[in-house]
């Protein structure tokens, strides 16, 4: 059953994509409750974070618990540049990417040679250090109270001041992130990344400079998280260190594991599920987080490699088309 669905999906991928896009565009017009649109926007922010984390943790195989730190660095960059220096949204968004990228280089260059779990804990350590700095460098970051009064996104005079406008902005950023990572993975560089994850010794023997691929994936992932942060700061108009704590790192990691490591669509589904779930469970009040924890375990128990963890649509499509091509050839000969 699952296989039939994924095969159909693989063969009609363009149609599925177009239908999904139509739904995503129509969605805010069909919903009267603006709160839901706001939640969907938050879902979009997390979708970007999850996709970018998937690049490093899913495709590159380095489990990172420091993603929230890059997100936070991006958010603080945008918040400070816009409130203190009055930079426009586009520039702060780019600066968020660049600063997060620089932090990615600073963390990645010395630590990416560490082995598996050591690296995971180092990313966690990085997350905590950044959060402590955000909390304690009060003259710059405003301490635990954070930064307020960040202007709404504005592009060439057009202000994104309603939930719907902001929703479309995040939708565009999501699509750009999706395209960027898809294109990256569908290339010589992407094959290099997959090869290093699958077997770095064999990858080296095929002429792949493994350290270079690790740092590349790490830095791109950090920059995208920074972009999500820059957007988030303008969208929320206030930020505090609490938003970028270790809990957030684990939340984003849970999203990509539930969606399936190494599957971008899975990451988006994971993000939407884990953002929607607490909202759906809201009537349960205090029990909400308890059930959330239990559900997380149950989902992994039922589907340990995530919803789309073992699905590669490109491979399925190539395989099916080849099979059909062969069959046709056979018919012609007969």
């Amino acid at each position: 059953m699952f296989n039939k669905i994924t095969t159909a999906w693989a063969l009609h991928r363009r149609t599925v994509t177009i239908v999904t896009l139509v739904i995503l565009v129509a969605f805010p017009f069909l919903i009267t409750d603006q709160y839901i649109v706001t939640v969907a926007t938050l879902g979009g922010v997390y979708a970007i974070l999850a996709m970018s984390l998937n690049l490093i943790s899913g495709f590159m195989g380095i489990t990172s618990l420091g993603h929230a730190a890059f997100w936070g660095v991006g958010a603080y960059t945008a918040a400070l540049l816009s409130t203190k220096l009055g930079w426009p949204f586009i520039l702060t968004l780019i600066a968020s990417c660049v600063v997060a990228l620089v932090f990615g280089v600073l963390l990645g260059l010395p630590t990416l040679r560490l082995s598996g779990r050591y690296l995971t804990i180092v990313t966690l350590a990085f997350c905590e250090i950044i959060r402590t700095i955000e909390t304690n460098w009060k003259s710059l970051t405003g301490g635990a109270t954070g930064i307020t009064g960040i202007p709404k996104p504005e592009i060439f005079g057009y202000v994104f001041n309603t939930p719907m406008k902001i929703y479309f902005l995040v939708l565009v950023l999501c699509i750009l992130t999706y395209i960027l990572i898809t294109r990256l993975m569908d290339s010589r560089l992407g094959r290099g990344i997959t090869a290093v994850r699958d077997d770095y010794i064999a990858a080296q023997a095929m002429g792949i400079k493994d350290s270079r691929y690790k740092i590349m994936a790490f830095v791109i992932s950090a920059a995208l998280a920074g972009m999500a942060g820059g957007f988030y700061a303008h969208y929320m108009s206030f930020i505090s260190p609490l938003s970028f704590s270790f809990d957030q790192s684990t939340l984003i990691l849970s999203m990509i594991i539930i969606g399936g490591l190494g599957n971008l669509t899975g990451s988006v589904i994971g993000a939407v599920l884990l953002i929607a779930l607490p909202e759906v469970l809201r009537p349960l009040m205090a029990w909400r987080q308890v059930i959330y924890g239990a559900l997380l375990v149950v989902v992994i128990l039922c589907k340990p490699s995530g919803i789309l963890g073992k699905v590669n649509l490109k491979h399925i499509k190539q395989r099916e088309l080849f099979k059909r091509g062969k069959e046709k050839e056979g018919e012609v000969k007969a």
Binding site: R183, T194, D198, A205, G207, I208, K209, F322
Partner: protein
Amino acid sequence: MSTPVLRTEKVTQRFGGLVAVNAVDMHVDQGEIVGLIGPNGAGKTTLFNCITGQYTPTEGKIYFHDKDITGMTPYQITELGMCRTFQNIKLFPHMTIMENAMVGAHTRIKENLWDVIFHTKAYKKGEKQAEERARKALELTGLSDNPYYYGTDLPYGKQRRLEIARAIASDPEVLMFDEPAAGMNEGETADLTEFIREIRGLGYTILLIEHDMRLVMNLCDRIYVLDHGTLIASGKPEEIKQNPLVIEAYLGKKA
């Protein structure tokens, strides 16, 4: 006489106090199939790993043509034109047969981040080249039947062929096989022998480590014998068969 394609000069590898490879001199000429044999623990794989760049030899030099490649990384060595396979097959499990072979072409195509993101001409050209090279290598190794299944789903013998296809896609001058017949039955080994001979016919130079005596004796032009890290004999298969030192160190154990 032309210079050998590959030459080692007094290569020594120590691990702590243990001397795994001791001052080995050997060379491989253009178009040869050279075998490296020896009993278990003789240091064959260690020497192999020195040549392919996995280890940096403690002493000695390794030359590819006239270029000193001692201490180069595996990826630099592959780029220069030497590519290896592994004793315990190392395919990329999340890649299709085709993609595994395309990884082989990695060093021979050019695509940078810009090309990849904006799908420039260079990207399209690179992908086309990679696919062509992979397709050729797969045809050569008899693997072109639906190459979109996962490489690790192939039967054992074919996985070995895929590893060789991947190496061939890197367009090497020298192919290096680490126990290619390991884990194969007699029929498969015979196929493999025939197959390696075909490859040599295409102009590749081959260095292989092997346990299977029949394959080595049937296939190799020259053989080097290692025992306890030291080279104890070298020569044509017939000479090696007659050599009392070899019989004592290697074949003698069975008698």
